[in-house]
Symmetry: C2
Subunit: 311 residues, 2 copies
């Protein structure tokens, strides 16, 4: 990292769902406008009701727009479900909860893609309409679906497994398919970055798909890369991560178990108090539970200061 | 028409929007199950929010399902507009009123078409889900858009003219484009029909597109065809028809002016009391204002009796 002032620091955050969205939100509040770019997992993207759904892009976008509910990791606060209720009444698939306001996002995105816009362009249009200024870049424009291979040998699309099957089937492996290349916008942002932050998101299904794209890991080796643990005191803040660590890696869930996924390009790691471990890079032990907006900003400032101290 | 009992009479109704839907509803109540098939104009179909909208198919389907509002010619009674309100908030196109429950129709149809279903199959699926038993056949599976040529020389897609421009630009001509062929299901239904009823719909933009398809006019010449006037006492019950008769045909709006559009295959014509005219076929003068469900059935029975008397 060059010795710039905080105001001209160029930061990229790699993000998945809720944890990623909260870190991005904290950084967006802590950093001056124009400093931050979010690069977001699209491995969860899928088609539902004929629409293109991008769950992680939406969670990050809604969080930055101030529309995310406090008590759940998806959709828009106070949304209604009139369309879903009618779909259910008519016997349509209703396992994925699409709110009425939320639906406008999927309709707009699908229409933009059908017109020939890239997912990057469609996302930019959605962000503009919601007043989100921080660039949110999908990791890829082409589909690159994450497949869950269960212990039983079934292969499920990620949302089918997470939402429809309620993450119940034990996981043997996670496979990243389709597009192998990050967008040029993502590679340019990574190349220009003074600092890349890896959000407290699931390393298998949120960060893994981004790192699997050609060019991303190489770019991370060229810059300062700092990760934030999604495991606190052996537990995941949200979602199926703790179980996945046991099932896939066969080890006890811990910050250290997550850090192993980022070996080779990590310059620092942030963990919750008591979660520190021996590592070839500095560890920041601090409150990384960032549910409230205040905690997000406090932690983002600490994380930036910590990252600036790394060479 | 063969001398069958009413119970094994095979009736096809050609229908456009509200007038057509009301006649079909009356016939559906008056005739035994299995006797009636509705053939519906798809010249109004268009893409909006990336979805395939079929206004006339929906009006007929919602009317038969008992979902149509009494006081307007589109959508579902008591529907809400949460999605539309959010779309408006985000600056999306909002000139076409899509209700939340209504939206499920357009989502399902668009998803079915994207999967490779024909419009006929998609419509059948929608009807099943809404408990509509009477077959509703789109006139064509391929797009065949109706274009309005204005007196000013502009060319507007039909809904753009009717809804977006509020039917204000004076009309010079109506053009039927695209698919020139009715579906095989439509041609089969017409061939098998003892009686074809032409609904009190707009002859230029509702019935005209059906008659313009190869095979339809020929089939009508082979059977008993009876039309119902959409003009009562010189006025249209609904919509821009009276003005269109003046603008396009340069004559005073009347039942007779409408009948001229069906010359060559008409075996009878139903008009409102006082609207009779000299014609080479019998005229039924009766109450053809069929807004209430009761009036629809009374008129449908009269119309069938009248048609059965024709040879």
């Amino acid at each position: 990292m060059t010795a710039t002032s905080q105001s001209d620091l160029s930061v990229v955050a790699l993000a998945g769902g809720v944890g990623g969205a909260r870190l991005v939100d904290g950084l967006d509040r802590a950093l001056p406008t124009g400093s931050l770019t979010a690069v977001v997992n699209t491995g969860d993207d899928f088609q539902h009701w004929g629409l293109h759904i991008s769950p992680d892009l939406d969670t990050v976008m809604y969080t930055l727009a101030g529309l995310s509910p406090e008590d759940r990791g998806w959709g828009i606060e106070g949304d209604t479900f009139r369309v879903l209720e009618e779909a259910r009444r008519r016997g349509a698939e209703d396992w994925f909860q699409l709110g009425d306001r939320d639906l406008v996002t999927h309709l707009s995105r699908s229409a933009a893609l059908a017109r020939g816009d890239s997912l990057t362009q469609a996302t930019s249009g959605l962000c503009s309409a919601l007043g989100v200024e921080c660039p949110i870049l999908p990791m890829a424009d082409a589909p690159c679906p994450t497949t869950i291979v269960t212990q039983g040998g079934d292969e499920l699309a990620f949302q089918e497994w997470l939402v429809h099957a309620r993450a119940a089937p034990a996981v043997r492996a996670v496979r990243h398919e389709g597009a192998a290349r990050a967008t040029q916008a993502v590679l340019d942002a990574l190349t220009a970055a003074d600092l890349v932050l890896i959000s407290p998101s699931n390393p298998y299904v949120s960060i893994g798909p981004i790192l699997a794209l050609t060019g991303v890991a190489d770019a991370l080796r060229q810059t300062i890369a700092v990760a934030v643990s999604p495991i606190l005191g052996g537990k995941a803040v949200k979602g199926p991560l703790a179980t996945m660590i046991q099932e896939i890696d066969g080890c006890t869930p811990s910050a250290e178990a997550v850090a192993r996924h980022y070996e080779g390009f990590l310059d620092g790691f942030a963990v919750h108090p008591g979660d520190g471990f021996d590592a070839p890079y500095p560890i920041l032990e601090t409150n990384i539970l960032i549910q409230s907006k205040r905690d997000r900003v406090v932690f983002a400032r600490e994380l930036i200061e910590f990252s600036r101290s790394l060479r």
